[in-house]
């Protein structure tokens, strides 16, 4: 009778021990349970009450997680006492950024991307029944029961300490901090059996077996198999910024509405990306910070719930306030669905962003892509411009024009343009003839391909310039021997507008394209005149770089000098020249060949200087005769 009572106590110890161990493990490995638990513990601490469950093994852990309370109690039931309890801690690792980019263009792809699940820890709690069960006397049984309880307490203490020394604890701590979300998560699975590890998995794992607690009726043992290192996983934080609409570009608080781009009519949702070294995004619409982030980070919603619909029993957590995923009874699959919805919005936004010129991969340090609901690009395009590099004539275009990283499609696009009205400085310094030709080129190119690629190409060129920004150009220009075109920081941004203006100039100056159009350039000049007249306000904003290049080419293929006042319209130009000839005014006067040649030489010098500063070789051309 007494022995039965003692035996029953022993079984109760074993059952409670399994429950307590599960509590300790989940509390130290599953962040969502930890948060919920921590809140409750704070409350319980204030009341200084110890629950009955806390008194077991003299270790106060607070309330059991709901998963434990509502769980299937089979694992703890006495009839299953001799079944092992296997607790797998699974690292759910979502795809890396590079792989996630591919999914951007296929909204139907799973929003969470490929999620790798790896068992990083496996705890096995087992109560083995000995072959021969000794039947102790009453006193011995009592002593045995107390000794076993004491040893169980020590075992639990050492397990509690060890849990904080294993590699998975660091991940748990990262996830437990609510300041950031990550591309990984920890879930658990409890079962009475375990799938054996593959050879490859075993090779990276270590095992630690706690000294068993031997009882007369059984032996209580705990072991853990864990991954020695988790550095193989690319565990990184995700975007923590909520989706936000920005409506303005760097450096310019005001924007003007832009014409709609062909692909910008879709509904778009804002997507925000981490910024490096940038001020936090403003809450006002159409405001974008200065810096850009490299790479594309897909924002995952908070996924603090961890549970898997794996082998039974599977225990899911109740929804937490910070959890924007599934309702309590949803399985893992439904959680993914929610993620898909939210990420789909971001995917759509990015598609919108990509397909709308001029945005393209940027080489700038950080590039948040902010999209507004309707035609945000229009506004952005009007806001600012970016400098455009002078392409080398006849030396190929793409590689020289593009920045080193701009070929990466995952790069963010350019910042939007500055307001049209506020920037008239440097662009007004351009030669109208050059500008005319440039605009002609742009018009032709605009008709080439409205696809994102060509727009990307153009934007890439602009990106490079925007990356270098006006600092470089200012330096170049200031060091030129005879700077005939002044340049300022604001004007560099304006040059971007050359490309993006009104959908027609979606790409910057391209010499080769001009070559193609050479045969018809003369004939179409008159036709373009009216166009230029209509867009006279934009002349002042053309970058001198583009203008110089255009001018060079134009002069090479120029028809005989003649006066054609119908080709030029009077522009209201505000000029800033740092000395030198006033090109705009001089162009309206009859000139001799010598004057033109002199002007050509000056432009050539300027071009060479700019190119040399940018590190590209200058290919001297035959002088136009």
């Amino acid at each position: 009778m007494e022995m039965d009572r003692e035996s029953g106590k022993l079984e109760q110890i074993v059952s409670q021990f399994r429950s307590k161990i599960l509590h300790v493990i989940l509390d130290s490995r599953v962040p969502s349970l930890h948060h919920h638990h921590h809140q409750q513990q704070q409350e319980s601490l204030s009341h200084s009450r110890v629950r009955k469950t806390d008194k077991w093994f003299n270790l106060v852990l607070g309330d059991r997680p709901p998963a434990l309370e509502n769980r299937n109690l089979d694992l703890f039931s006495l009839r299953n006492l001799f079944d092992p309890m296997v607790i797998d801690i699974i690292l759910v690792h979502r795809g890396s950024c590079s792989s996630s980019v591919d999914n951007l263009y296929s909204p139907s792809a799973p929003a969470a991307g490929p999620a790798d699940e790896t068992v990083i820890e496996r705890w096995v709690v087992q109560y083995d029944c000995p072959r021969f069960i000794a039947t102790p006397s009453g006193a011995d049984a009592c002593v045995s029961y107390k000794k076993i309880y004491k040893k169980s307490i020590i075992l639990l203490r050492s397990l509690y300490t060890q849990m904080r020394l294993l590699p998975a604890y660091r991940i748990f701590k990262q996830l437990s901090s609510l300041s950031q979300t990550y591309n990984f998560d920890l879930v658990y699975k409890v079962s009475s059996f375990s799938h054996p590890f593959s050879r490859e998995e075993e090779s990276g794992m270590k095992e630690y077996i706690f000294a068993p607690v031997e009882a007369l009726s059984g032996c209580l043992s705990v072991s853990v198999t864990y991954r020695a290192t988790l550095s193989d996983f690319n565990l990184e934080p995700l975007v923590s910024l909520p989706p936000k609409i920005i409506t303005d570009y760097v450096g310019s608080p005001t924007t003007d509405p832009m014409r709609s781009f062909p692909s910008s009519d879709k509904g778009a949702h804002a997507t925000s990306f981490p910024l490096r070294g940038a001020r936090p995004p403003s809450s006002s619409p159409f405001q974008r910070p200065h810096s850009w982030s490299s790479g594309f980070h897909r924002g995952f919603p908070s996924t603090k719930t961890q549970s898997l619909a794996g082998s039974p029993p599977v225990y899911r957590t109740s929804p937490k306030p910070y959890d924007i995923a599934s309702p309590p009874t949803d399985l893992y699959g439904n959680r993914i669905q929610n993620q898909r919805v939210s990420t789909l919005q971001q995917v759509t936004a990015y598609d919108e962003y990509k397909s709308s010129p001029p945005f393209s991969p940027s080489a700038s340090p950080s590039t948040p892509s902010y999209l507004s609901g309707t035609n945000p690009l229009r506004t952005r395009h009007c806001s600012e411009t970016a400098p455009v590099t002078i392409p080398l004539p006849l030396t190929g275009r793409s590689t020289r024009y593009l920045s080193p990283n701009s070929s990466d499609p995952s790069r963010h696009s350019l910042p939007p343009l500055s307001p049209r009205s506020s920037k008239h400085d440097a662009s007004s310094q351009e030669s109208p003839s050059g500008i005319r030709s440039y605009r002609k080129i742009e018009a032709l190119r605009a008709g080439e391909s409205p696809s994102g690629l060509s727009n990307n190409y153009s934007a890439q060129k602009v990106v490079r310039d925007s990356k270098d920004d006006s600092g470089r150009f200012s330096a170049l220009l200031s060091s030129s021997g005879s700077p005939r075109i002044g340049f300022s920081r604001s004007s560099s941004r304006l040059s971007f507008q050359d490309d993006m203006d009104d959908c027609e100039f979606s790409c910057p100056f391209d010499v080769d394209d001009v070559d193609v159009s050479d045969s018809s350039s003369q004939n179409t000049e008159g036709k373009k005149a009216s166009e230029f007249t209509a867009q006279s306000n934009l002349v002042g904003k053309k970058s001198h770089d583009a203008a110089v290049g255009i001018l060079v080419h134009m002069l090479r293929t120029a028809p005989p000098l003649r006066q054609d006042s119908s080709c030029y319209s009077t522009h209201s130009l505000r000029t800033e020249y740092e000395g030198g000839v006033s090109i705009a005014s001089g162009f309206f006067m009859p000139r001799k060949t010598a004057d033109a040649l002199e002007e050509l030489n000056s432009y050539r010098e300027m071009k060479d200087l700019l190119l040399s500063k940018s590190g590209t070789r200058v290919v001297r051309k035959e002088e136009i005769k």
């Binding site: 003299n58 107390k146 020590i154 050492s158 060890q162 020394l165 000294a211």
Partner: protein, 217 residues
């Protein structure tokens, strides 16, 4: 009852690391010997990426900190010396009072020796530089050396903690039964005194009290 002794692996630490290292080790040991009702408290080390567990008793924390302060004072007076801190757990047994002995005696059933080698801040090794003149960028190499050294200390500390866990798991039979209402077993922390001979006298005193020869593993 045998007195189980555990000699922990020697740690080479710098002066500013003593407090954290000793807190970590001593509290970890005590947590495994505080078998009464405890509310565990996780503590993250500042110098290392290690989290240890305290049993949450304020008095205990205060006493341990006091001992650590004494030890640090001793280290300042005896720089560049290997030192040992002894954490002992005992039972209080009453005995027949006599002229030379107290009414109660302490029966030490477990002793932990924490071995520390406190070093000064290492100077930048000129041997690493092949130039006899001033090193161009001493800051960078010193930082690398410091971080490398810090990683080594962290790894050693982890080893010590695993050593404690292993010892605690393997030897359980000598632990006395848990008394009602007692959170942790009576303990004693012994630090080196002003002289080595005095430290030896403390050991002899302990032997006289316990009546057991000290067994060094």
């Amino acid at each position: 009852m045998n007195c189980e002794v555990c000699q922990l692996k020697e740690l080479e630490v710098e002066h500013f690391e003593i407090r954290e290292v000793l807190r970590c080790i001593l509290h970890t040991i005590v947590f495994h010997r505080a078998l009464g009702l405890v509310r565990p408290k996780d503590v993250d080390l500042e110098l290392f990426e290690i989290t240890y567990v305290q049993c949450g008793d304020v008095e205990l924390e205060k006493k341990i900190d006091e001992k650590i302060d004494h030890f640090i004072s001793w280290v300042e007076k005896h720089p560049n010396k290997k030192s040992q801190i002894c954490l002992s757990f005992y039972e209080v047994k009453s005995k027949q009072p006599s002229w030379f002995t107290n009414k109660t005696e302490r029966l030490y059933w477990e002793q932990w020796y924490v071995n520390l080698n406190v070093t000064q801040h290492p100077k930048h090794h000129s041997s690493k530089s092949h130039h006899t003149k001033l090193i161009v960028d001493p800051g960078e190499s010193a930082t690398e050396e410091r971080s490398c050294r810090r990683a080594m200390v962290e790894a050693s500390l982890r080893e010590v903690l695993f050593q404690i866990i292993k010892f605690v798991n393997e030897k359980k039979d000598h632990v006395p039964p848990i008394s009602e209402g007692v959170i942790y077993f009576p303990y004693e922390i012994t630090i080196p005194s002003s002289s080595d001979s005095a430290f030896g006298m403390d050991m002899i005193k302990r032997m006289l009290h316990s009546g057991h020869p000290t067994m060094l593993s």
